[in-house]
Every structure is written in structure tokens, then in C-alpha cells.
Symmetry: C2
Subunit: 349 residues, 2 copies
DNA sequence: AGCGTGCTGTGTAACGGTACAGATCGAGCG
DNA sequence: CGCTCGATCTGTACCGTTACACAGCACGCT
């Protein structure tokens, strides 16, 4: 063992070993051009001899006020970050910025309890990215109060946090028009996402009841599109699912068809994943898409193209990149993410 | 603005405002039972008045030597963490521990360059988890030298790092036996993973050439199983793919069938994802599975059950949990992860 | 009265780096 | 020869928190 006691080797130890001052050693590591070749070698040598494990990150951060890491506050259970396709795509975008700028990526687990606010404000990060956050989340304020840059995907709107999203309301308006083409007097189901619900609990969700701002915006857009086309919002069953899983959509839609016997003509889904589940259940129940049933998804992920799904294209990856850039302090613009309706075979022409 | 200048509010400021000592304020936050109800209220009140953003994480960590965060060193491009099904499942396991123990999860991006070693040793984490690491990765030594607990999935073996994995060699041995049941004089292709390769470059990989220890172990196991059954290792084409994508497997296998015209009888894949790609290409080329072609996967993920794939079951989620526990310092055991061959319709009985 | 005990509050010295201002010294130059 | 200048090196004061040891003080008990 080269280590004296149990104490970790510090810059000072290296300086002593090398017969140089602490500052020279510090410069040798951070700004090698500023020291002579000979000193540099002596520092490197002394480090090796003592087994110097590198600069203490906390000391450096405390002094410089930076930690070279972005924080992600993930509104749902952290394991979903790696299983939900929407979240994954978004996070890949954030990660791409981290790779480019040599930043760490720190997930700050929260569970929606008030105590989590301090876990956010006391995270060693230089900026925050929020994902699927509910309206009254106390962590938003905690992040803003740190004075570090903050970005949020979707919403809610919050003073001091840059909001990155497509215009969900306009997009939903367009989607409802496309989706109901060639249909008269339809009965419509909207499969929405609202992770504050327990599974299959959300029958008949009212617009204002939705906890996620994105859900609110889209429902509002659906409503406007439908009413402009002469349909009634009261003919729409809004069903909120707690998880973005095709199995959730399948069991719920099956129940709707078999038990509730609702004569549904169109299903507007808020993710491709849910839409694929609806398609599967439809075919199991002998419904022909799009002639006897119109189905639309959201996001235009890989599954949408494979299944011929009409969907709303937006790039969550790009939105992730934008959020990453904002959190890294590279820009402070409030960007408008683009979107477009992609018409495929799951809706009538 | 309640803030005086630009300086961030500190504990000291709160103490002054509350008319108490710094330590009392510190106790009020960390150990409220130790202060009187009245002091507690005064501290809380002063914090609110001054807009105290919470304890400075770097100062706390510097003093206590802990940062309440686990580090993940991800051998591939960080965006794959959110798209590769194997990685995702493993990371979900790590994340579950972080949620349970109230720890952050920090990804430390590396690109395989020597400079990355310092990014690892200077990360503000309490322990390390390694994923898909090549044999001579310098970040391994950097992590060990910090003295913090380290865990690695798969390999390589490294002094001071707990290795979590199934016995890949024995598993591969069993799999090759199962997979070649009812076959005589077969020509075999093994689709392997080796992310240091550029796409489709790895024709005719030699066992010892494989950069990933897991790949080496499995190839070795395949070889032993085949030779024990009287087959020749020289009849096996080992093809290393750089990415765990079904599209990679599809184009490569298509090339093999059409251009190289190799009369392949069995394909042993090192992931379900690759195996599914092989199945798709096989059916496009009119090959009937399992009668004219045996296909096996690895991991028994959701796709394997859906496609009736014979595969090797292991739980990367559980291995992720184990790695997380080790990195969090909750245990130091060298565990043996379990595995079993799951026989389905893609191989002969 | 004297003493131990528990509760509450306080000063000070770290933790391990970096910013900053300045010291030293030999070379170059009029 | 005196002076400036650049290259190199150094001492010290922080950054903001917590560990630790100790100081009052009220209270109950002998």
C-alpha cells in the first residue's frame, strides 16, 4: 500500500512529494501550458507514486460553482425512463447534448412528495430538465430558486422555466379533423395519458381534471376540432390511462367494446404505443380499420410506420436536445417545436 | 428581489436573519429534533424571507464525503442507454435501487479515449456501475483508485470490481446443444455483439479477437458445446455486429443468404433483438423455422415470447439491481446470476 | 446545597480544491 | 547598467457546509 493511513491522497500530498507548491500542481492538471515541462513531469510522477485518484469533484465544484452535469427530474417512476418509448426518445436527445458538451447526466428521483423539493434543489447539477410534470409540482419552484437554468418538456408553464413543446392544442385540432374525415355522427374515444391515475380508473375524464398540461392542451384541441366539424364533445369518451403501455390500451378497449358495448367509430390516442394496442384489440374483435374504425396515434415513432398508423409527428429527440441545450446554458430561447399530421392507412381518406 | 447582490444565500445568511448560530440552522435542517420548536420556526421563516435555495450540495459533499448518487459508466454512446433493450432493462434495475435508496443516478459519458479516465475519477458519485466495457478500458482503474465501490455487468474481470453476470460460457454450451438438436453436419452462424466494430465489418471473428469479455465467453461456450456434440468449430461463421439492432441482423443475414450463399442451418444470436431480425429475414427468404433453420436468441425479453423464440433466459433487471446494491455499498458479495434455456418453436425438438 | 443529566445552543476547525495577486529570475534592449 | 517583460512559481484567502467539543441552564434527585 502506498497510502499512508486511510486518508485519500490530496493535491497537497502530491505537491509535497513533487517538491512544488499546491498551485503549481493545480496548474499542472488544469492548465499544463502554464508550467514548465520539468514540473509537469514531476507532478505526473508524484501522482503516480502516491496513487493520486484525481481532483476531488466536490472541492472543485464548491470553488468554481459548476459541476459539469445536467439534472433530469423525471415525474414518473425512474424505471420508466428506460421502458417508455416516448421518454426514452426524449432522454436520448438530452443525452446527446451531454455527450457533445462533456457533461454528466444526473437523474434525480422524485416521488411527488414535498420532501422531494429539497432533493432537487440540493442536487449537484448545473441545470434542470423536467419531464411529465404535473401542474402543482413543488420541485419546479425548488429548481428555479437555485438560479440555475431550467427547461421543461410539455408543461406546465412556470415562471423561470423555458417550455419546450409543440403546439399541442393546434396539433390536436388538426389531428381530430384528419381522423374523422368521412365519418358522420361518430362516437369517439380518446385514450389519454395521465400518470397520476391508477390503471383503468379514468373513465369520463373532464378536460380540466387532467393533471398533465399536455393532456389538457390536446383534449382542448380535440374538442375545438370536433366542434368546428359539427360534432359534439359530449359524444367523446375520454379515458385516462396511467401508463403508456399497449397492454393497458388493449384491456381497456376490450372492456369498452365487450362490456360497455359503446358503438365507437374513432379512437384518438395520445401515443403510438396506445394506438397499436387499440389496433390489436380491434382486429381481435373483428373490426376493420379504417372502414369500421378510425385509429390515430401520436409521435410517429417506429411502431407507427410499421403499423400504418396515422399519427402526429413530432421529434421528442429534438425536443430533448433543445431542453439539454437550455439546461446547459447554451441558449435561452423559447423555441417552438414543429409538428405535422402523418396520414396513413388507419384513418379514412 | 429579496437577494442582496448576486450572491447566493447561504446558511450563514439565514443564521444572521434568524438571530441564531450557523450550527443551529444546520441542525434545524438536518436534525430538527435537536433544536427547539421556536428556533426551528425562526429558521424556516428566515429561509423563506431570504429565499434560501437549500444547502449547497458541493459543500455538504465535500464535508461529508458522500454525494448520494450512483455513477454509471456506459461503454457505448450514451443515447443507446435509452434505445438498446438490453441496456434499458439493466439500467431499469439500477434505477430501481436508486429510487429505493433515495440516490441520484449519474451517467458519466465516455468515448473510450484516455482522457475519459479523469472524467470517471472526478465524478461526484459514491459508487460505480459499468456496462459493456472492453478489456483494456482505462476507466476501470480510474474508478477503483477512487476507493469507491464498483460493480460491472458481464466483464472484464478487474481487481477491485465486483463482477455480476451469468456463467455465460456454461450457458452458451447449453444453448448450442439445445439449438442443434436434430441437426447433422450443420453450418452455423453466430451473430455476436462487439460494439467496437463498425457495422457489418466483423466477418469471421476469432474468439480471442472479441473485445467484449461476454462475447468471448459465449463463443467459447458455443465451441465447447458444438465440439462435444461432434461438430466442427471451423463450420461456424462468427459475425460481430456493432449495434444491437434487428435491422443490422436483417441486412447482414440477407447478404449472407443471397450473396455469400452460405447453406446455413442454424443461427445462434447473442440477443433476442438480433434473433428477431434473423427470423424476419428467414421468412422473407422462404426459409421455414425450425425445420430448415434453427434460430436462438438471448435474454428472453418480451420479443422472445411473442415470436416463439428459443432463448437463454437471464434477468438483466436483477443484474442491474445487484450492481446498484454493490455500488451503493449495501453488499459486497460476488453473486452468481441465474440462467436457463427456454425452448420454444424456433429450434427443433 | 451539590451533583448528574438532558436539552439546546455555539465557536472553530476542517473538507480539498481554485482565484488572485504577487514574487522571483533570466533574457533582451537601448 | 538599469529597466521592462514574459515565463514560472508561490502564499493565502476563500467557497459553504458539518463534526466535534463544549457551554449554559433547568430539572430532579440525594
Amino acid at each position: 500500500m502506498t497510502k499512508q493511513n486511510q486518508r485519500r491522497v490530496t493535491l497537497r500530498d502530491v505537491a509535497n512529494e513533487a517538491g512544488l507548491s499546491v498551485m503549481t500542481v493545480s496548474y499542472a492538471f488544469n492548465n499544463p501550458d502554464r508550467v514548465s515541462e520539468e514540473s509537469l513531469q514531476r507532478v505526473l510522477n508524484a501522482s503516480k507514486v502516491l496513487g493520486y485518484a484525481g481532483k476531488n469533484p466536490w472541492a472543485t465544484s464548491l470553488r468554481t460553482g459548476k459541476s459539469n452535469s445536467l439534472g433530469v427530474v423525471f415525474g414518473e417512476h425512474l424505471t420508466y425512463a428506460f421502458s417508455d418509448p416516448q421518454a426514452s426518445e426524449f432522454l436520448a436527445g438530452v443525452a446527446s447534448i451531454c455527450v457533445e458538451r462533456h457533461l454528466g447526466l444526473t437523474f434525480i428521483p422524485t416521488e411527488g412528495t414535498p420532501g422531494d423539493a429539497s432533493r432537487v434543489s440540493e442536487a449537484a447539477v448545473d441545470g434542470y430538465v423536467f419531464w411529465t410534470t404535473v401542474m402543482d409540482d413543488p420541485t419546479l419552484g425548488a429548481a428555479v430558486r437555485t438560479g440555475r437554468p431550467c427547461a421543461i418538456q410539455g408543461g406546465p408553464e412556470y415562471d423561470g422555466i423555458v417550455r419546450v413543446r409543440a403546439d399541442d392544442r393546434a396539433a390536436a385540432r388538426a389531428m381530430s379533423t384528419t381522423s374523422l374525415k368521412g365519418t358522420s355522427h361518430p362516437v369517439i374515444v380518446s385514450f389519454s395519458l395521465d400518470h397520476t391515475r391508477t390503471p383503468s380508473q379514468g373513465y369520463g375524464l373532464d378536460i380540466t381534471e387532467a393533471k398533465l398540461p399536455v393532456t389538457q392542451d390536446r383534449l382542448q384541441g380535440f374538442r375545438e376540432g370536433l366542434e368546428a366539424a359539427g360534432f359534439n364533445w359530449s359524444d367523446v369518451y375520454v379515458i385516462a390511462l396511467s401508463r403508456n403501455l399497449r397492454t393497458e390500451a388493449k384491456t381497456t378497449f376490450d372492456l369498452l367494446l365487450k362490456e360497455a358495448q359503446i358503438p365507437v367509430d374513432a379512437v384518438l390516442c395520445m401515443s403510438d404505443e396506445l394506438a397499436v394496442g387499440v389496433l390489436e384489440t380491434a382486429s381481435e374483435n373483428g373490426r376493420v380499420v379504417p372502414n369500421s374504425l378510425s385509429v390515430s396515434g401520436w409521435d410517429d415513432g417506429p411502431a407507427a410506420a410499421a403499423e400504418g398508423l396515422t399519427t402526429l409527428r413530432q421529434s421528442l429527440y429534438e425536443q430533448g436536445r433543445t431542453c439539454g441545450q437550455i439546461a446547459a446554458g447554451l441558449t435561452a430561447d423559447q423555441p417552438q417545436a414543429s409538428w405535422s399530421v402523418i396520414e396513413r392507412q388507419s384513418t379514412r381518406r
